[in-house]
Amino acid sequence: MFLKQYIKDVWGAMKSLATGMKRTGYYFTHHKEIITEQYPDNRDTLVLPERFKGEVVMIHDENNEHACTGCTACELACPNATIKIITKFDVDAETGKKKKAIDTFVYHLELCTMCNLCVEACPTGAIKMAQTFEHSVFDRSQLTKTLNKPGSKIREGVE
């Protein structure tokens, strides 16, 4: 009786082992079903989806103009104090009126958690999420970025 059970157990174990090995053998002979991506080598062909949240960037058009009015809605929406907007007063050359404008749009990538709340909060659509994802640098200070390009100004008609 003991021997019968023993042989049965061994037979069951061999059978379950063969079932598992059959699956391994299947993939061994079907290379096309393996979907491993060779990551650093496929950078050129790697396309990230358009909504991917990589980092915050400011949209500039061909005339080096942006749509940021300096309303600080993004700064208030950010949970981590990632964004700091420094404003200045531009003097209009024709009318002589003072007008509020952004001086520097400071963005701390090292604090950003990519929650997209700033982009949602922006009333003029001045910022968006870019698809960049390899952010490693040797010095932490390089992650503090100024988003408005040098010499850029606000687009006409954006209030």
Partner: protein, 371 residues
């Protein structure tokens, strides 16, 4: 002689398992009292990655605090966000558009499958089988790709906002989910072939980590841990939220009370999630994906509670509001914490080799415990 639980007698060995050990699922530190090979007591030490999320939420506005909660249980981030968004909506008495409700449920169920997939791979790896880990990730990757396309991130999506969802679904969403269902159905039998039917796996799981239905209730366990002992605890069935009461799915119950029962619950739960997705994917109603809300949300004075069924069990969100823009107090009832409390009961009297197997079936996520 001292036979009392937890008392160290002469000749006992005290060993530390974890933190920072791959088999302890994050930074969990277990102090184990051993008598020979038999476990006398297990004492989990917590707090290694405690970031005081509950306290942090008190200084964030209602829109902002939701994103923090996806860092708690990063494997079912969507469902955490969902529970918080529901609690805020309860306070504001917001009506959610039908389209948003369906999208939310679809995302929840995809997250549940992704979470159980990872658990299945990690569980097999705990027991020494490495191949299933890669097979689990293969299916999980296709869910992550869907998430990336619609929500913009692979792990911590921040897709649920009070009033609905942040973006509409991507035009490719329905096609890709259908492709995933096709792939999943052609691969699901591999799981049984590789792991479930394996004799080593069965011998290490059956009769290990036994907990009775009464003990499950007294420890406050929820989710697959409770359902493995035959305790009906599915929030989706008992306190249906969104459109769960209109859907056809079964609450998976097993009566084995051991590790194998908990394993089978999760495996069968994935198939129920597939069933829910199949019912919804062709019937997403047209309309808005977000209700109209004010830019700054203010909850009326009072207390609000909502709960959702995450991949690990019931997550409760309790908000005390004083009428301002930030919550006065927030408390999360996380499933991992209650499930971990049953660990000593599960493994006491068993062998040290069974500890990892029993702990693996609890599906612990440590930030969920530490919060």
């Amino acid at each position: 002689m001292f036979e009392e639980v937890g008392t160290t007698t002469e000749g006992d060995l005290i060993i530390n398992v974890g933190p920072q050990h791959p088999a302890t699922h994050g930074v969990l530190h277990l102090v184990i009292t051993l008598n020979g090979e038999t476990i006398k007591n297990v004492e989990p030490h917590l707090g290694y990655i405690h970031r005081s999320i509950e306290k942090m939420c008190e200084s964030l506005t209602y829109r902002q605090f939701i994103y923090v909660t996806s860092r708690m249980d990063y494997l079912s981030a969507h469902i955490n966000n969902h529970a918080c968004a529901m609690c805020v909506e309860k306070g504001l008495q917001l009506e959610i558009p039908p389209r948003a409700q369906v999208i939310r449920v679809l995302m929840d169920e995809l997250t549940r499958i992704a979470s159980h997939e990872l658990w299945w791979g990690a569980m097999a790896m705990d027991l020494g089988a490495f191949t299933p880990f890669f097979h689990a990730f293969r299916e999980r990757e296709s869910i992550n790709d869907i998430m990336e396309e619609t929500c913009g991130a692979r792990l911590t999506m921040n897709y649920m906002v009070p009033g609905g969802v942040m973006h509409d679904i991507h035009p490719n969403f329905q096609r890709r989910v259908k492709d995933f269902l096709q792939l999943y159905k052609s691969k699901i039998h591999e799981y049984d072939e590789m792991v479930t039917g394996n004799v080593i796996f069965q011998n290490r799981m059956k009769g290990v980590g036994v907990i009775s239905a009464e003990d499950v209730i007294s420890y406050g366990c929820t989710g697959p841990v409770a359902r493995g002992s035959g305790v009906s605890s599915d929030t989706r069935k008992h306190y249906p939220y969104e459109i769960y009461d209109k859907l056809e799915f079964d609450e998976v119950l097993e009566t084995g009370c051991d590790s194998f029962a908990r394993y089978m619950v999760r495996l069968r739960e994935m198939q129920q999630s597939i069933r829910i997705i199949e019912q919804l994917i062709d019937n997403i109603p047209e309309g808005d994906f977000q209700a109209k809300t004010k830019a700054v949300l203010k909850l009326p004075k009072g207390e609000f509670y909502s709960k959702a069924e995450t991949a690990r069990g019931e997550l409760g969100v309790y908000i005390v509001s004083e009428g301002g823009t930030t919550p006065y107090r927030i408390k999360f009832r996380s499933p991992g914490f209650s499930n971990l409390s049953a660990l000593n009961h599960l493994v006491k009297g068993g062998k040290i080799g069974d500890l990892i197997a029993a702990m693996g079936t609890l599906d612990l996520v440590i930030p969920d415990i530490d919060r």
